[in-house]
C-alpha cells in the first residue's frame, strides 16, 4: 500500500529523511516512532504527496502511483499534526466542502460530524471552537472518504478525550475493514499499541522495525520498578544487586532497572527480608531510552 524506495529528502544542508526503504502492506496498521526531529512528519508527508523526495521513490495504492500525482491521492486520507480551518466557516461548511471536493455521498457529512462528537457544534463558526474541537473536525474531514490508506501525523497529541475515543473507534473500524493505517508518534500510549508494526526513525534513518510483541518486549526489558518499604532492611539492596546490578536506593525507595522478568525474584527477596511493601510502581521502559540505544547501535553498524 505504501512503498518507500531509498527515499531521500533534504532541506538545505540538513537531511530530513535519509534513504528510507520500507513497505507497508494492505490492512496493516503501522506506527512510525522516533524522537522529535527524526523525520517522521517528512516521511509521512511524502506518502501524502505533500513533499517530493529528492532521490529514491515513494509509491502509494494498488496499483502503485506516486502520491504527488493528484489522482493517486484518491486512495489516501491525511490528517496533519495540527489542522487549521478558516474561522469564519462552520464545522459543517468545512466538512461539506471537503465532501464535495472528493465527490463523497451527502450523508457522510452528518455521519463524520457525529462520529467526531461535533454534531452539536456543526453550525457554529470554527472560530468559536476549542483546540480539541478543531482537531476533531480535522479527524472528521480525514475520515470522510473510506480511504484505503489513512495517514495520520501524531493523531493523539492534540486530541481531547472525546477525540481519542473517536480515534480509537476509527482505527478499529478501519482495521476491521482491511484498510491500511500509517501514523506517527513520539511516544507509546494506549492508541499506539493498536499498531501491528512499529518503525523507528532516528536522524532520518530507519533504525528498527519491530512487531508489536517485539516492541513490548524491548520496552519491558528496559523497565523500572520502584519499591517503597516500611523500614530499611540491611543486606536487602546487596541481595537484589546480585540479580539486578543497577539497583539503587533513592530516598526510601529501592529503584530496580531492568527486564520485567526479574521483578518476581526481586519481590521474593523483599518479602523474605521481612519488610512491608508500602508502595510499588512498575513501568515499561521509555521510548527515549530505546531510541538512544537504537541510534547508538545504528552508528555501530555503519562504522
Amino acid at each position: 500500500m505504501i512503498e518507500y524506495r531509498a527515499a531521500v529528502k533534504r532541506f538545505g544542508v540538513q537531511t530530513a529523511v535519509d534513504a528510507i526503504t520500507v513497505s507497508i502492506g494492505r490492512g496493516e496498521a503501522v506506527a512510525l516512532l522516533g524522537p522529535n526531529g527524526s523525520g517522521k512528519t517528512t516521511t509521512l508527508k511524502m506518502a501524502a504527496g505533500l513533499i517530493r523526495p529528492d532521490a529514491g521513490d515513494v509509491l502509494v495504492g494498488e496499483p502503485a502511483f506516486r502520491p504527488w500525482e493528484p489522482s493517486a491521492r484518491r486512495v489516501l486520507s491525511y490528517l496533519p499534526q495540527r489542522v487549521a480551518f478558516p474561522e469564519a466557516l462552520t464545522g459543517r461548511e468545512i466538512v461539506e466542502f471537503y465532501r464535495r471536493l472528493r465527490g463523497i455521498p451527502a450523508e457522510r457529512s452528518q455521519a463524520v460530524l457525529k462520529f467526531a462528537s461535533l454534531n452539536g457544534a456543526g453550525e457554529r463558526a470554527v472560530g468559536t471552537y476549542s483546540g480539541g474541537m478543531v482537531q476533531r473536525l480535522g479527524l472528521a474531514v480525514a475520515m470522510l472518504p473510506e480511504a484505503d490508506l489513512l495517514l495520520l501525523d501524531e493523531p493523539t497529541a492534540a486530541l481531547d478525550p472525546d477525540g481519542l475515543r473517536a480515534f480509537y473507534a476509527l482505527v478499529e473500524q478501519r482495521q476491521a475493514a482491511g484498510r491500511t493505517i500509517f501514523f506517527t508518534s513520539h511516544q507509546v500510549g494506549d492508541v499506539e499499541r493498536l499498531a501491528d508494526r512499529f518503525l523507528v526513525l532516528a536522524n532520518g534513518r530507519l533504525v528498527a522495525e519491530l512487531s508489536q510483541a517485539a516492541l513490548r518486549d524491548c520496552l519491558a526489558a528496559r523497565g523500572t520498578m520502584r519499591v517503597r518499604l516500611d523500614r530499611d532492611t540491611p543486606g536487602l539492596l546487596e541481595a537484589i544487586r546480585r540479580i539486578a546490578p543497577s539497583a539503587s536506593r533513592v530516598g526510601d525507595e529501592i529503584v530496580i532497572a531492568g527486564a520485567a522478568s526479574l521483578r518476581p525474584q526481586v519481590l521474593d527477596l523483599v518479602r523474605s527480608s521481612g519488610a512491608q511493601i508500602r508502595g510499588l510502581v512498575a513501568e515499561d521502559g521509555r521510548l527515549e531510552a530505546l531510541y538512544r540505544e537504537l541510534v547508538a547501535r545504528g552508528a555501530e553498524h555503519t562504522e
Partner: protein, 462 residues
C-alpha cells in the same frame, strides 16, 4: 468611446492660428434667374418703407440695395439659390427680422457666401435663424450694425476647415452682437480689425474657435458663453478689451484654451467662469493685463505663461481643481499673483487674516519637466506626480526660482461669476440609475448570501 478621441485628433491636425483675410471681391447683385420671388417687392420699395413677408418658402437670393425694413411674419423661409449669399445687404440702415434662412451649403469660402451678408453701415438683423450656410451673418465694413437674437447652425457633416464663421465681423467700427446662439461652425464669433463693439449674451458652442479675434481694440464682452470649442478662444494683436461675466467652458481639445491672448495689452478680465478647459488662460507677448475675480477651474493647466508676457496681475481669482496651476515657458516672470484662492494650497492660516501664512508656490519641478517633455503629461495624474509636488513643497531647494502667490486666500472667495447654464438644470439618466441599482444589488448579494447560508443549513438539518 473612441469617437471623441478620434475627433480631437482630427481637429488637432486641422487647425492653426491662421488669419482669415477678407476677400477682395464683393458679391454683387445675383443674376435674375437666381433671384428670390421677393426681389421685385424690394426693387419697388421706396427708401424707408416696410416690406412685410408672409409665411412660406421663397427660393432664390435677395439683394437689398435701399434702406428698407424687411419683416417676416410666421417665420417665412428664404432658401438660397445655392450659389452664394442668400440675403445681400448693400444699403445703409436696412433691417431684416423674423426669417429662417437656408443657404443650401452653396457658394464658397473665398466669396464669403453667407446667410446674410452685410456690406453697408447701420444694419440691424434680428430674430433670424440661419442654417446650411458657409458663413452665418457677415458684417463687412458695416459700421454701427447690430445682430441680435439670431441662431446660426453650420453645415452638418462638413469639416471645420470647410465652414465659415457664425458671426463674422470685419473692418467694422462699432457693432453690437447680442443674445445670439451659434452652433457647429468653424469660428463662432470672428472679429478682425473692428473696434468699439459690444458682444453680449451670446452662446457659441460645439465648434472650433468660440471666439477668433485680431487687430480689434476697445471691445467689450459680457455674459457670453464660449463652450466646447476644439480650439477655444483666441485673441491676437489687440488692446483695451473688457471681458465681464463670460463663460469659457468645456474647451477640451488637445490645444484648446479657455482664453488665449497673444500680443494683447490692457485687457481686463473680470468675474468670468473659465472651467473644464485643457488650458484655462494662455498669455504670450501680452502686457498690462488684469485678471480679477474669475473662477478658473478643472483645467489641465490653469495658466500657461510665456516669459514674453509682462506687467500682468492676477488678483482675487479662485483656482479650483486644476491639474497644474501654472506652466511657465521661460525662466522667470514679473506677473503678480496676489489674494487668489488655490484649491491645491493646504498651507494653514494660523493668524486668521484670511490668507495662508506662507506664499503658495505655483511652479513645480514636475511642471518644468512636462514643459520640456509632453509625454510627461501621461504621469501627471499619478501618485508619483503628487509625491514630487509634496516633496518640493517640503524642500524648496528643488525649485530655485519659484513663482508664488504672496498672499493666497485660505478660503475660496464669493465670486460674481456666472453659473453654467447647461448644467443648471438637473438631468437624470434612468439607464444609469437602473444600472447603478443593479450594480449595488449584485455587489450586496454575496454579502447577504454569506449571512443567509448558515441559517438555511441549520434549518435543513434541524
Amino acid at each position: 468611446m473612441l469617437a471623441p478621441v478620434l475627433f480631437a485628433l482630427f481637429v488637432a491636425q486641422g487647425q492653426g492660428d491662421m488669419a482669415v483675410s477678407a476677400s477682395t471681391t464683393l458679391e454683387q447683385r445675383p443674376a435674375a434667374a437666381r433671384l428670390s420671388p421677393l426681389q421685385p417687392r424690394v426693387d419697388a420699395a421706396a427708401p424707408g418703407s416696410v416690406i412685410d413677408v408672409a409665411a412660406g418658402t421663397y427660393t432664390g437670393d435677395l439683394y437689398i440695395d435701399r434702406p428698407v425694413r424687411l419683416v417676416g411674419h410666421g417665420r417665412p423661409l428664404l432658401v438660397g439659390s445655392g450659389s452664394g449669399s442668400v440675403v445681400l445687404v448693400r444699403a445703409a440702415d436696412v433691417v431684416v427680422e423674423g426669417f429662417d434662412i437656408d443657404g443650401r451649403a452653396g457658394g464658397d469660402l473665398g466669396r464669403d457666401s453667407s446667410g446674410i451678408h452685410i456690406a453697408a453701415p447701420r444694419a440691424i438683423i434680428r430674430d433670424c435663424r440661419v442654417r446650411n450656410s458657409i458663413f452665418g451673418i457677415y458684417l463687412r465694413e458695416a459700421n454701427g450694425s447690430r445682430v441680435e437674437r439670431c441662431r446660426i447652425d453650420g453645415i452638418p457633416g462638413k469639416s471645420p476647415g470647410e465652414k465659415g464663421s457664425g458671426l463674422h465681423v470685419w473692418n467694422t467700427d462699432g457693432f453690437e452682437l447680442l443674445h445670439n446662439e451659434i452652433v457647429d461652425v468653424r469660428d463662432g464669433i470672428y472679429i478682425q480689425s473692428s473696434p468699439h463693439g459690444v458682444v453680449r449674451g451670446n452662446v457659441a458652442r460645439d465648434l472650433r474657435y468660440g471666439l477668433h479675434y485680431m487687430y480689434s481694440d476697445d471691445n467689450t464682452f459680457e455674459d457670453n458663453v464660449f463652450e466646447n470649442g476644439a480650439a477655444g478662444t483666441t485673441l491676437m494683436y489687440s488692446r483695451r478689451i473688457t471681458f465681464r461675466h463670460n463663460q469659457f467652458i468645456h474647451n477640451r481639445g488637445f490645444a484648446s484654451v479657455g482664453l488665449l491672448f497673444k500680443n494683447c495689452d490692457d485687457i481686463v478680465a473680470e468675474s468670468n467662469l473659465i472651467a473644464d478647459n485643457a488650458r484655462g488662460i494662455f498669455l504670450e507677448g501680452s502686457s498690462r493685463n488684469v485678471f480679477r475675480g474669475n473662477l478658473i477651474a478643472a483645467s489641465d493647466i490653469a495658466i500657461v505663461l510665456y516669459d514674453s508676457t509682462s506687467d500682468t496681475r492676477f488678483t482675487g481669482n479662485s483656482f479650483v481643481g486644476n491639474l497644474t496651476p501654472l506652466s511657465l515657458s521661460g525662466r522667470r516672470t514679473d506677473t503678480i499673483f496676489a489674494d487668489n484662492y488655490w484649491s491645491g494650497n493646504e498651507s494653514p492660516d494660523l493668524d486668521g487674516d484670511g490668507r495662508s501664512d506662507q506664499p503658495y508656490r505655483l511652479s513645480s519641478l514636475f511642471d518644468h519637466l512636462r514643459g520640456n517633455l509632453t509625454a510627461a503629461d501621461l504621469v501627471s495624474r499619478s501618485l508619483a506626480a503628487s509625491a514630487v509636488a509634496a516633496a518640493e513643497q517640503a524642500l524648496p531647494v528643488l525649485d530655485p526660482i519659484p513663482v508664488v502667490d504672496a498672499s493666497p486666500r485660505s478660503h475660496p472667495p464669493v465670486l460674481d461669476v456666472p453659473t453654467e447654464w447647461r448644467n443648471a438644470e438637473v438631468r437624470r439618466a434612468p439607464i444609469g440609475l437602473l444600472a447603478s441599482a443593479a450594480l449595488t444589488l449584485v455587489g450586496a448579494l454575496p454579502f447577504a448570501a454569506g449571512r443567509r447560508r448558515r441559517v438555511v443549513l441549520s434549518g435543513a438539518h434541524a
